[in-house]
């Protein structure tokens, strides 16, 4: 076998010493070699295909990557070339990342749901010559933008379905390419190993374009050293091993996904599984039972919403049981997870709850085996966070960003507070500026923004400090709390602090509220836009026999307004109990007639609200919220899934909400 020969060629001693193991390798292709040598039979990758989990061990994966690299080489892929990677999580696409790196090229994963225009920008900006894509949907987009991207030469597709008659000479089927690659590898057995040996830790490993809540995306350049140093620090921090199970289901273009399903998998040698399709991810999660799980808050929110909907439909006895034991869990679960003392009576009750409710629920969610689960990417509501911890799921927050190769802070086991993101991991320094803005210095700090010197200099000082744009502070225990984006934190005209994301997260904990946008900076009081959650609200409406024909109609329904008003009044009561937040009570709100959508630029591709865009598009509605009017009229341009656009008109009702009286400290006492 060519690979075996190559292993010998690069490692003449043939001894598996610590100095030559994966721990010493400074690039991922080198690690691949080591895994193929040390644990050739261990599963490295799985994918559910035709209803069955198919798996590849490390030796097979190394062979596949060698074949891909050979194929790319025969197409003219050279050192320094960029390879765009577009599609859902598929083993082939992960292998393409390694293949490009093995050849000294740079993979550039892109968001698979981007519209053609967004892709054209990245293709052009990153000077991409080669692209490997999942299927016809992505090929169509590239064919569409090909003329505008003269550098793009070759498009490789994995799934040939529907593409048989595409006559474009630059299209290549991946299966045929791998075959060519195998022939190439047999003809030049030493090539793959030699190319890999030429790579070094300081080389660029990947360029990730951040979706960014403002402006054009920026290409974050990360070196192998950046990624590997950070990933290893986090692996040590959590004690991860090659026995972890991970499900790769988040967009490949997202740094979090890249680090968890690629970087850490190579560093620790664990197996990564790809779901059958995006729609089956939650079912696949359950089958797989991962031990290491990563999800942005919205996923945990979705799961909780699903659970709550199903419990509302459950029989009376089950519902009572669920509610009772959820109460028990809330009271003592987090303490037990942190190994703090608890009375024997509580322990017994929790044990019973685990038998009757938490255990089966965790099993249904696929979280029975979770040792470490992270949430990151956005702040998570404390109630949402504690719900999972109370069930005994070790959900923790971490703080990081693309520019830091993810990990800056992680909550330590046993020291998890819902409102902090934990302590800096070894190697990371964080400092807080006077205005609250955080900056960091770490081995994972990015190299630069690709071809954007100005932005790089704005973000990174010559001595290596990187500005995060986030505002936060350290508490007495040295744990970091993130308040908001530094530029989003404002003040009400009365002088009280206004942290919109904090308010929105409070609102979003209610299952009926999918998205919220709070306004209040330099205003007299706080107001909010609400997006209802169609699944939850539709279920609620169905149980009440409410008739509606569309999202728009349901959103405008009087009873739905009542429902949301109830949620907001609850938030107001909570805020009133906290003197520092009392001024943030929501005085007026409206329910938007459409869901905020990334295609309309209202959300980023990772589904974060673009506050500026929303405020601009719906300026008339914001005006109405502060004018005392009871209606707001709006015309918006919407983009349909097929790319066409249309105008949507609506008159939206505006509701006033009662605010709760502020309880002053002395009254509380």
């Amino acid at each position: 076998m060519t690979l075996a020969e190559a292993v010998v060629a690069t490692d003449p001693s043939g001894a598996a010493t610590a100095a030559s193991g994966p721990d010493a390798a400074d690039t991922f292709p080198k690690m691949l070699f080591e895994h193929a040598r040390i644990r050739p039979e261990r599963p490295a990758m799985r994918e559910k295909g035709y209803g069955i989990w198919q798996s590849w061990n490390w030796a097979q994966v190394a062979g596949e990557i060698e074949a891909l690299a050979g194929g790319l080489k025969t197409l003219g892929f050279a050192r320094g070339d960029k390879l765009a990677i577009i599609g859902d999580n598929r083993p082939l696409l992960y292998w393409a990342i390694a293949a490009a790196q093995a050849l000294g090229g740079v993979p550039v994963p892109m968001y698979q749901d981007s519209i053609a225009d967004e892709m054209a920008y990245v293709l052009d900006h990153a000077e991409i010559r080669f692209a490997i894509v999942e299927d016809q949907e992505q090929v169509d987009k590239l064919v569409l933008v090909k003329e505008r991207c003269p550098l793009l030469e070759t498009v490789i597709f994995c799934d040939s379905r529907g593409l048989r008659h595409y006559a474009q000479p630059y299209l290549h089927a991946c299966d045929a390419l791998r075959e060519t690659g195998r022939v190439f590898a047999r003809a030049q057995p030493g090539f793959f190993g030699d190319e890999i040996a030429r790579g070094h830790g300081a080389d660029t490993a990947i360029i990730l374009y951040t979706s960014g809540t403002t402006g054009r995306p920026k290409g974050v350049v990360l070196s192998f050293d950046n990624l590997i140093a950070t990933a290893r620090a986090a692996i040590d921090f959590e004690g991860l091993s090659d026995r972890e199970e991970v499900l790769a289901y988040l967009p490949m273009a997202w740094i979090g996904e890249h680090v968890f399903s690629y970087v850490q998998a190579y560093c620790a040698g664990f197996c990564v599984s790809c779901p059958e399709s995006p729609a089956t991810a939650l079912a696949d999660l359950r089958e797989l039972g991962p031990s290491y799980l990563f999800a942005p808050p919205r996923i945990f929110e979705n799961i909780l919403t699903q659970v709550m909907i199903r419990m509302e439909d459950a029989a009376w006895v089950k519902r009572r049981l669920f509610q009772y034991f959820l109460g028990v869990a809330k009271r003592i679960g987090p303490a037990l997870l942190d190994r703090r003392p608890a009375g024997w009576r509580d322990r017994a009750l929790y044990w019973l709850g685990n038998l009757l409710v938490y255990g089966p629920l965790k099993n249904a969610l696929g979280m029975t085996r979770v040792r470490v689960a992270y949430t990151a990417g956005e702040a998570i509501g404390p109630d949402l966070f504690l719900f999972y911890r109370s069930l005994g799921i070790n959900l923790k927050q971490l703080y990081g960003m693309t520019e830091s190769s993810v990990f800056l802070c992680i909550q330590k086991d046993g020291q998890v507070k819902p409102d902090t993101v934990g302590v800096p991991i070894p190697g990371v320094e964080i400092r807080v500026a006077d205005n609250g803005e955080l900056s960091f210095r770490s081995p994972g700090a990015f190299q630069s923004y690709y071809k954007n010197k100005e932005a790089t200099e704005d973000a990174k000082t010559p001595d290596g400090w990187v500005y995060t744009g986030d505002a936060g502070f350290f508490d007495a225990d040295g744990q970091l709390t993130i308040v908001d984006r530094a530029r989003d934190v404002g003040r009400l005209s009365g002088g009280a602090l206004f942290a919109p994301k904090f308010i929105e997260n409070k609102l979003k904990f209610f299952p009926y509220i999918k998205e919220a946008v709070a306004f209040g900076d330099s205003r007299d009081f706080v107001t909010a836009f609400i997006n209802i959650d169609l699944d939850a609200a539709a279920n609620w409406a169905e149980r009440r026999g409410l008739a509606y024909a569309s999202y728009q109609e349901l959103a405008a329904n009087e009873s739905v307004y009542d429902l949301v008003e109830g949620c907001i009044a609850q938030v107001n009561r909570d805020f009133a109990a906290e003197p520092s937040l009392a001024a943030s009570q929501i005085h007026r709100f409206l329910i938007l007639h459409k869901e905020l959508d990334a295609d309309d630029g209202e959300l980023t591709r990772t589904r974060k609200v673009r506050r500026g865009t929303v405020a601009e598009r719906y300026a008339a509605l914001v005006g109405a919220l502060y004018s005392g009017a009871h209606f707001g009229h709006i015309e918006t341009e919407v983009t349909f899934e097929d790319g066409r656009t249309g105008i949507m008109r609506a008159d939206l009702a505006i509701r006033d909400v009662g605010t709760a009286p502020v309880r002053h400290a002395e009254e509380v006492a």
């Binding site: 035709y50 209803g51 379905r161 529907g162 048989r164 008659h165 595409y166 089956t280 349909f640 097929d642």
Partner: protein, 265 residues
């Protein structure tokens, strides 16, 4: 865009209906309709309500037996052919109103499409060991390919009755495909669907024709769809065929325009 140079060429006539007449009491549903369906083509049958489109499909797959006229399948005359015989010959269909087993899962529904191809008898299957088990595994493998093809993995284990209408239509297509038909009859595959679901369905129909080389005859009311995906269009009106040809020709045919819009007399 399909490239005509590489697509499987439209071949010989596989089904020939010659001067079919069918009457229910006093109503003449079909009146001397002749229609040839050629291998690998996508043929659309259109016409106003009550023109006899569904009756024609029912004659083709043996639901109805015409009073006059002859049906020839691959050169062999078929007289009084029954639906299960048609199915065994390689003619499968979907229905205007979804006709699935609502309490059964998607997977089980599609598996029923394999029944005509099961070799072992009921007893063997009940015992479910050895050859019977092996055979079922092979059928399941085939069904899984269809599930993958039509992208319905997520609903594999969901009872069909709980699915949205558009998905039920897709399951019905899957079941028809499970029979490995040579000729697939689709009765209004896109009725009641929204634009996005229609686009998906169009893509699936084209892909089926393309990947499996299946000949397709479909009834459809959406003219945009018909003009986009069909190679040939046959138009029925009051039980007679008034036009038959490429979409563009048919669209411009005065008799067709008259049938759809009415004429000034």
């Amino acid at each position: 865009m399909p490239d005509p140079t590489t697509r499987k060429p439209i071949g010989e006539t596989i089904l020939d209906a010659d001067a079919i007449s069918l009457a229910f009491g006093g109503i003449q549903a079909l009146n001397g309709v002749s229609l040839a369906i050629r291998r690998h083509e996508i043929l659309a049958i259109i016409g106003p309500n009550g023109a006899g489109k569904t009756s024609l499909l029912n004659v083709i797959n043996g639901f109805y037996h015409p009073q006059r006229g002859a049906l020839t399948w691959k050169g062999v005359p078929r007289r009084r052919m029954r639906p299960h015989e048609a199915a065994a010959l390689g003619i499968s269909r979907t229905f205007q109103n979804v006709a699935l087993f609502r309490g059964m899962t998607t997977l089980d529904n599609i598996m029923t499409g394999r029944l005509t191809r099961m070799r072992r008898n009921l007893l063997w299957q009940a015992i479910h060991i050895g050859p019977a088990e092996k055979e079922e595994l092979e059928h399941r493998r085939y069904v899984e390919r269809i599930i993958d093809f039509l992208e319905i993995e997520a609903i594999r284990k969901v009872p069909v009755g709980q699915l949205a209408y558009g998905l039920q239509k897709r399951v019905e297509l899957a079941r028809a495909l499970a029979m490995e038909p040579e000729l697939l009859l689709l009765d209004e595959p896109m009725a009641g669907m929204n634009v996005e679901e229609k686009e998906d369905m169009c893509r699936f129909i084209l892909d089926v024709n393309d990947e499996f080389g299946t000949t397709i005859a479909l009834i459809e009311h959406d003219m945009g769809v018909v003009m986009d995906i069909s190679d040939r269009v046959a138009v029925l009106d009051y039980g007679r065929k008034i036009a038959d040809g490429p979409p563009d020709t048919v669209r411009a045919d005065p008799a067709v325009i008259a049938a759809y819009l009415g004429v000034e007399r």
